[in-house]
Amino acid sequence: MTAIMSLKDISKIYKTGDEDTYALNKVSLDINKGEFVAIMGPSGSGKSSLMHIIGLLDTASSGSYCLNEEDVSKLSRKTQAIIRNQEIGFVFQQFNLLPRTSVTDNVLLPTIYGKVKNPEAKAKKLIMEVGLEKRANNKSNQLSGGQVQRVAIARALVMEPSIILADEPTGNLDTKTSIEIMTLLKDINKKGATIVLITHEPDIAKFASRIIHLRDGRVVSGKDK
């Protein structure tokens, strides 16, 4: 099976004063098409840094990363922006939505920056699928935490990406809502999307087909399937 994402010796170094801090230390791992991977680890283990590099939001200090068999370090900022738009859908833990903006407009946000057929119809369908059709015209600040994450998931899906990256999507939610959100992600995975999920809750990680543990910037377990 071909790896959709292939990381080799990826390091991320932050300079704090004279000392170098390794957020990621020579991480190598492959994620295959259609997998549902959970990345776990205590805070400071490098989970978020890993996801930002995978999602082309940040660049690695060293090592190589191939996305769809293409070395991303050779891509221009513009091409990276296009890949983020077309190939990747993000769900963040916080600040997921534009403030004072309606649910529909938030879901439509990625369609401003890239081409997709019938964006309005697609957004309407996705909002229905995440169960927010009655709130389509509500402003983002009138939503509950679970509703915000549903909108974020709908937005992540509107460009029909092959990869969904979710950074602690259930971090601020109660158990019942968390399970609803995870069920939603599981369904998306079943339809073919590759999902990489970051979490520190074992209950949430159980939804994934593979769990990768990180500690101090290194992969501890789950490197290979």
Binding site: H52, G55, L57, D58, R77, K78, A81, I82, R84, N85, Q86, F90, F92, F95, N96, L97, L98, P99, R100, T101, D105, L109, P110, I112, Y113, G114, R155, M159
Partner: protein, 422 residues
């Protein structure tokens, strides 16, 4: 489609912060407003002056005593020390003793010597005290001949005008302007009444019809006497000004040249530059005054333009605050695929839309200020299309220039740095 969407995003951001957006553009509104107000008032003054000068008649030539360094007629001067054209030299001739004599008037009126001049006249200016409702007031007395009434189009209503016999006899006769006559003799027929001018007693022989007034001339308030009598009464032998009228508009330049030649010959002057008089046509006067009002208008508009720059800095300031405030929004947009150019465009569009709106509101405000100011003065403000284009152009340029720095700052942010910003 994409650009329309980005414009929509910008508009949404502006309307999401209505209060702040308004305060931001206030600087631009005031800047453009004051520029428009000053330009429209300047144009209004200009056109009001134009119309008043054209009332003087396009064919008239004014001859004034003193060195000829007034206005365009001095353009041939090569002297290093000669005063520059314009307002500084305008007073050059006025204080000089006049050398314009009745003999000059006779030469100028001579059709064989001066064929392009239809009529010529001179004016000796003095004043007299009149009593109106028990209160004394001073009015202008002009010593002249009958051609003065012809050139200025001042017909007689009752009695008769100043005759050549009156001139020859130095007759103490007086023609009153309509308003003056009505004020001084409200209840009785002014004809044959006596008026004291200086130490002489004059008899009213005629009253003029009511004439149109202008800032330069109010013939209704003046009294007119034969210039020979005026010279005796006021103790002078020269005219304060002379006036000649060309036969038509095409002959003005020729008439001016002939008049100049005759006067130079009469005064025994060979070098034009040493002339002890100056001749101005209405056109010359218009050019001179236009250049003065033009300078003042652009000076004031220039000062007002400074407030535009200040307004622009205000825009930049608020845009910078807005970029900082919306850093995470920028990060989110980048995460979902916004390119650097998309973010740059969004913020520039925001700045330009703000300033453009400010510019349009400013045009309205400026026109209102012009209207209000004009109510207290005697003219209508004129907002020209050029002024509007200038204002809109300047305001959008201000938005572009002062919007680029904050926009670039926003656009060049790393997506993750922007998302992590606290």
């Amino acid at each position: 489609m994409k650009y329309w969407m980005i414009l929509k995003q910008s508009l949404k951001a502006i309307f999401a912060n209505k209060g702040r957006s308004f305060l931001t553009v206030l600087g631009i509104i005031i800047g453009i407003g004051s520029v428009i107000a000053l330009i429209s008032l300047g144009n209004g003054v200009q056109s009001s002056i134009d119309s008043q000068i054209s009332k003087l008649g396009a064919t008239s030539l004014t001859i004034m005593p003193g060195a000829s360094n007034f206005g365009p007629s001095s353009s041939g001067s090569t002297s290093q020390t000669s005063a520059p054209k314009g307002p500084a030299s305008a007073g050059g001739g006025f204080g000089s003793a006049s050398t314009l004599s009745p003999a000059d008037l006779t030469s100028l009126s001579d059709k064989t010597k001066n064929p392009k001049v239809k009529a010529a006249t001179g004016a000796v200016n003095g004043t007299a005290i009149f009593t109106v409702k028990g209160v004394e007031q001073r009015n202008t007395i002009i010593g002249t001949n009958v051609d003065y009434f012809n050139i200025h189009n001042l017909p007689i209503k009752s009695g008769h005008s100043i005759s050549n016999a009156d001139l020859d006899n130095k007759a103490k006769v007086l023609v009153l302007g309509s308003t003056l006559a009505a004020e001084v003799f409200p209840d009785i027929n002014p004809l044959d009444q006596s008026v004291t001018i200086g130490t002489d007693t004059y008899t009213v022989v005629g009253v003029l019809k009511k004439a149109t007034e202008s800032s330069f001339l109010n013939p209704n308030l003046n009294g007119y006497v034969p210039y020979t009598s005026a010279m005796t009464t006021f103790g002078t032998s020269a005219f304060n000004t002379m006036l000649a009228q060309a036969i038509d508009e095409n002959s003005v330049d020729k008439a001016k040249a002939d008049t100049e030649a005759i006067l130079l010959k009469n005064h025994g002057i060979t070098d034009k530059k040493l002339a002890d008089f100056s001749i101005m046509s209405s056109k010359d006067l218009l050019t001179t005054i236009s250049s003065i009002t033009g300078i003042i208008t652009s000076l004031l508009a220039g000062i007002a333009a400074i407030s535009l720059v200040v307004g622009g800095i205000g825009i930049m300031n608020i845009m910078l605050v807005s970029v900082t405030e919306r850093t995470r929004e920028i990060g989110l947009r980048k995460a979902v695929g916004a390119k650097t150019s998309d973010i740059l465009l969004q913020f520039i569009v925001e700045a330009v839309v703000l300033t453009l709106a400010g510019g349009i509101l400013g045009i309205g405000l400026g026109y209102l200020i012009g209207l209000v100011a004009a109510r207290f003065m005697d003219f209508t403000p004129i907002v020209t299309l050029e002024a509007i284009f200038l204002a809109v152009g300047v305001s959008s340029a201000v938005g572009l220039v002062f919007g680029i720095y904050p926009a670039a700052k926003a656009a060049l942010l790393n997506p993750i740095d922007a998302l992590r910003y606290e």
